[in-house]
């Protein structure tokens, strides 16, 4: 047991870090894209489209790649999912569209839909090519709280339908988890900001940064000042482990460290523990574990209280952790955090007894919960909504992770924002 925790920056050379944080799935070349597009069977009532939370017409966008109609392909994607660029990078396609691909039955190798989607959307977004224009102004104003995937999706659709939108975002930069939460190697070259700018460029959307609900602006104020309000506030607080010693120094919320990592100008300057223990079994746990390894942590343990079948991280993500050198432990709930002022390790309790993993840093990644909100009815810590994302409050809609059926996926949040915008538009039209 070390007296002092071994935490330092620059565990790896700069070029090693650069390589470790380069694009996880490099984009397809034109030849690769054409050959891959040829593999699409153009299925009837395509299972991939059925499996896409935003219902992108996948066979059609792939057909348009095949015919070199890239702009049309991007339009097909973005008209259903304005964050088609980010979703192409971060969607767990192996459990969504690509899992549904009939090629799995044929040859156990789906069409690389995610990479094709990126191939179609990247050039359009890089060129800042606007594919959508705004409808005639309606004179209605909508407040969107939260500039993450749900909020941006909602704002874009509302703006396209002719409404004016103000986004209230608590952070310095817009983008929410796209900007502060997603693993760095999934969205390189500042893509989250590029995409957000692209979305906002439709016009009619004002962004107020550093403006948090509850402190800088109240929900009742928004309800009275705007014709409608959309809440896309995510889950602002990390869950506690609920074990002794959790307050020791060196026990850190994974989301906080990831946010710091995403904003770091020089990844090499980030403090990295020599031995890192991550507690959790979801995407955040995988992301912090893998990124710790890629920053140079020598030993990274990811410990989950249940079995691999219960992990919310996909099998691809679990394999990514393992090939990145993360040791995954199953069925081991944490019992207590060891150490005096500073953490020295974690004691786990399994069916076979206790064991201790020594640690310089412990990351908590067992989920987040709603950052308490006054007003809308909640259930199990999330906002209750109906099929059209209406909350219990008049003129207030909600979507994304903060609502009852949010599933922590960017693509789901985008769909929520889109559906809410459609319903808000319908509602405003009836006024």
């Amino acid at each position: 047991m070390a007296d002092q925790p071994d935490i330092r920056s620059r565990r790896l050379e700069q070029d090693e870090i650069a390589a470790n944080f380069s694009d996880l799935h490099p984009p397809l070349s034109r030849s690769e894209a054409l050959i891959e597009a040829d593999r699409c069977y153009f299925c009837f009532d395509a299972p991939c489209t059925e499996a896409c939370p935003t219902g992108i017409d996948i066979p059609v966008f792939i057909q348009k790649i095949r015919s070199n109609n890239i702009r049309g392909s991007a339009r097909t994607i973005l008209s259903d999912n304005i964050m088609g660029g980010m979703c192409a990078r971060v969607c767990p396609t192996e459990v969504l569209c690509e899992e549904a691909c009939v090629r799995n039955t044929h040859e156990e190798k789906p069409v690389e839909i995610g990479l094709l989607q990126r191939y179609a959307t990247d050039p359009v977004i890089d060129a800042r090519m606007q594919l959508f224009s705004r409808a005639e102004p309606t004179g209605k104003r909508v407040a969107v709280v939260g500039g993450g995937p749900a909020g941006l999706s909602c704002a874009h659709r509302l703006a396209a339908l002719g409404h004016d939108v103000v986004i209230f975002d608590r952070d310095e930069k817009i983008g929410g988890l796209n900007e502060y939460g997603i693993a760095a190697y999934k969205t390189v070259d500042d893509f989250a900001q590029t995409e957000a700018e692209y979305i906002l460029a439709i016009g009619g959307i004002e962004v107020r940064n550093n403006c948090a609900l509850g402190t800088d602006v109240s929900l009742t104020e928004l309800q009275s000042d705007y014709d409608a309000v959309f809440l896309g506030i995510g889950l602002g607080r990390s869950n506690d482990l609920g074990v002794d010693g959790e307050d020791k120094d060196g026990v850190v919320n994974a989301t906080d460290y990831i946010a710091e990592l995403r904003q770091a100008g020089d990844l090499g300057e980030l403090p990295v523990g020599r031995t890192v223990v991550v507690i959790g079994g979801g995407m955040t746990a995988i992301d912090i574990a893998v990124q710790s390894r890629r920053l140079g942590a020598e030993h990274v343990h990811m410990v989950y209280r249940r079995g691999p079948e219960n992990m919310s991280a996909s099998t691809f993500e679990q394999a990514l952790a393992q090939t990145s050198g993360v040791t995954i432990h199953h069925r081991a709930p944490p019992k207590r955090i060891l150490g005096d002022e500073y953490v020295t390790g974690v004691e786990f309790e399994t069916d076979d007894g206790k064991f201790v993993l020594y640690a310089d840093v412990v990351f908590k990644a067992i989920g987040q919960h709603l950052n308490g909100i006054e007003g809308p009815a909640t259930e199990n810590g999330r906002i209750v909504i109906d099929g059209w994302h209406r909350t219990s409050l008049d003129k207030v809609w909600a979507g994304g992770d903060c609502v009852i059926d949010g599933d922590d996926l960017t693509v789901t949040a985008v769909q929520h924002g889109k559906l809410a915008a459609i319903d808000i538009d319908r509602h405003l039209g009836e006024q």
């Binding site: 030849s31 050959i35 040829d38 069977y41 299925c43 009837f44 009532d45 009939v102 044929h106």
Partner: protein, 424 residues
């Protein structure tokens, strides 16, 4: 391994695969490489009149129809006949035949429509020791504008006349190469036969424009901004060629006329198609121009293996399928087949459903008992084979006979709805 030794008009070759008259056979260098690779024979690129050499464009001569992964499906050219001096070609032909006595060396020739030209040039060619002559009445671009090539092949009287001149000027076998750019292949074939041709070869290339240039909105390719139609060949033209070969083979008057089959032969199965439909050997160009001469390995090996598996000799394969080709009016209208989808092989892409639903007979389900499932509705299925054609899984959808074999055949000729039916 089945022996592929082939004899065509008495011309022997170790296998029935000859290189067609085209760029691959333009000079000794190429033909040497071809024979080293194992080709059975070569038809030398078309020789013209002695005199100033032919001039080709120096812009693009070739272009292709590609799949997305750049596989060449169809191919187009505007190259003319040989642009090398006649004597150079004659010297090289002589040397090649001397170096490769076991291979077939046939020389393609294109001459103006006057007898003197034929009387003058054919003996010069025959003197090289070449095994035979092929009269190029097919080239559809450039030379046809000068009254040769397809301009001759499209007029049966000219075919017969030139063939007669050739027969009287040469003693070696004469093969007449036919153009597909005609309404029916039979009049040209009959004309060749009437002129004394020992055989016909077909098809030459099909008039074609490949596409336009999407940037300039001009045809593609062009020479200094202007383009012209070329001759189309490659895999895409095989079905056209097979029909024409079969037409000649199944027509009583021309059925004894030996055929050298040409048009899109790429692998051994294509050769089997041509041979079974009446060709006695095949000629290949595009596949060699796309992949190089090495494809002869699969062509010969595949054909030999196939013959072994079928227990056939090469000669027995030739024309084997001809009796199965007939006119539509003789097809049995009482015979009924319906599609059956093998649910174990089905990958549930639904292509069969949507094409049947949108464009045919609404005879395939998409949902059965709430599940995504594609089944043939027998009452609606007319046995059209569209679903079989579009299914991406080999043998997943197959056609099964449902009519009773004992029922008498009912062709259109005897059908009660046919006002012209034969009555006793």
């Amino acid at each position: 391994m089945a022996d592929l030794k082939s004899t065509f008009l008495g011309i022997e070759s170790p296998n029935p695969f000859w290189l067609a008259s085209a760029p691959p056979t333009d000079k000794a260098y190429n033909v040497n490489r071809a024979f080293e690779a194992g080709w059975g024979g070569a038809v030398w690129k078309t020789l013209g009149e002695d005199g100033p050499p032919i001039v080709n464009v120096s812009g693009p001569r070739y272009s292709a129809l590609h799949s997305n992964d750049r596989r060449v499906i169809g191919f187009n050219n505007i190259e003319l006949i040989t642009d090398r001096p006649l004597q150079t070609n004659l010297d090289e032909i002589r040397q090649i035949k001397r170096d490769w006595p076991d291979r077939a060396v046939v020389v393609s020739v294109m001459l103006p429509m006057n007898e003197d030209a034929w009387a003058k040039h054919l003996p010069m060619i025959e003197d090289t020791g070449a095994d035979g002559l092929e009269l190029n009445f097919g080239c559809p671009h450039g030379m046809s504008e000068r009254g040769m090539g397809a301009a001759v092949g499209q007029v049966p009287e000219y075919i017969q006349m030139a063939t007669e001149w050739a027969k009287s000027a040469a003693s070696i076998p004469i093969i007449v190469k036919l153009t597909p750019n005609v309404a029916s292949i039979l009049p040209p074939a009959k004309a060749a036969q009437a002129g004394g041709a020992d055989a016909v070869s077909l098809i030459n290339t099909v008039n074609s424009i490949m596409r336009i240039n999407y940037d300039t909105l001009t045809m593609y390719p062009t020479t200094d901004g202007m383009g012209t139609h070329g001759g189309y060949c490659g895999e895409a033209v095989k079905p056209i060629a097979l029909n024409m070969v079969a037409e000649i083979a199944r027509t009583q008057e021309t059925s004894k006329l030996p055929i050298s089959g040409i048009g899109g032969v790429t692998d051994w199965r294509d050769a089997v198609d041509f041979l079974a439909l009446g060709a006695a050997n095949v000629q290949v160009c595009t596949a060699a121009m796309v992949y190089g001469f090495k494809i002869i390995d699969d062509l010969a090996d595949g054909l030999s293996t196939f013959l072994d598996e079928k227990g056939l000799q090469l000669d027995e394969l030739i024309g084997k399928a001809v009796p199965s080709v007939t006119d539509w009016q003789h097809l049995d209208l009482n015979y009924v087949e319906k599609a059956v989808i093998d649910q174990d092989l089905c990958i549930k892409c639904g292509r069969c459903h949507v094409v049947c639903e949108d464009t045919s007979h609404q005879a395939i389900t998409h949902t059965v008992d709430g599940e995504r499932r594609f089944e043939v509705i027998d009452e609606e299925c007319v046995g059209c084979n569209l679903c079989v054609s579009v299914c991406p899984v080999d043998s997943c959808i197959t056609m099964h006979q449902v009519s009773d074999d004992k029922e008498a055949a009912l062709p259109w000729t005897d059908h009660p709805n046919n006002p012209m039916r034969k009555t006793d």
